[in-house]
């Protein structure tokens, strides 16, 4: 099974030129499911091969009744050594209408961009390719 998604052009300010340019990012629209409650509208999550685990905004999880602060808490660290507190919960992820798998995600009140990580998303696919020329990401599931 293959699914393709075009990159999303996001504006950014280039301080060298003083211009607003665009950066193309590989987002995947997903819905999360928790105990039979499902997010109705897909949220575009950044497919990030440099991130170990799924990391989602806490308020997104609260919308479908996830008791965020009751999850096991961890300190996660990113570039620059900044540590943030996350709460881990089991969820299901739905990609489109025909790919669904049970996984885990870390939820955080200090983070807005939903991230899809290597353990929890990437490992549920046989192959994920980033076509930088066409600006398409392809998910392949055996």
């Amino acid at each position: 099974m293959k699914k393709q998604y075009s990159y999303t052009p996001i504006p950014f300010f280039d301080p060298k030129t003083g211009e607003i340019k665009e950066i193309y990012r590989p987002y995947i629209p997903v819905r999360i499911v928790y105990r039979h409650k499902m997010v109705k509208i897909p949220v575009r999550c950044l497919l990030d091969s440099g991130v170990d685990r799924n990391l989602f905004p806490a308020l997104w999880g609260e919308n479908i009744g996830i008791p965020i602060k009751k999850g096991e808490s961890f300190l996660t660290q990113g570039i620059g050594g900044i540590g943030i507190k996350v709460y881990r919960h089991p969820i299901s992820i739905l990609v489109g209408t025909d790919i669904k798998f049970t996984t885990e995600a870390d939820f955080c009140y200090d983070h807005n961009i939903p991230l899809l990580g290597r353990f929890g998303f990437f490992n549920h696919f046989q192959k994920i390719t980033f076509d930088e020329e066409e600006k398409i990401v392809e998910l392949i599931r055996s």
Binding site: P9, F12, I41, R44, N63, H111
Partner: protein
């Protein structure tokens, strides 16, 4: 100053409901919940929700 045309320009640090082909923003708000409520009233279909990152920051795995 050149300015690229991008429909997300008015929505920095906002959540938006955007059409699948990126041609239209149908709702915006300060949270996913706020955007979902607006979309429900509009009865729009084939849309997705996106957080528009700050324009003056490059993305790292941690971003507020």
């Amino acid at each position: 100053m050149k300015k690229v045309k991008n429909i997300l320009l008015p929505y920095e640090k906002k959540w938006v409901a955007i059409s699948k082909d990126n041609s239209q923003v149908v709702a915006s708000g300060n949270s996913i919940k706020e955007v979902e409520k607006k979309v429900k009233k509009l009865k729009e279909k084939d849309i997705e929700i996106l957080y528009v990152t700050p324009f003056d920051q490059y993305l790292t795995p941690l971003c507020k």
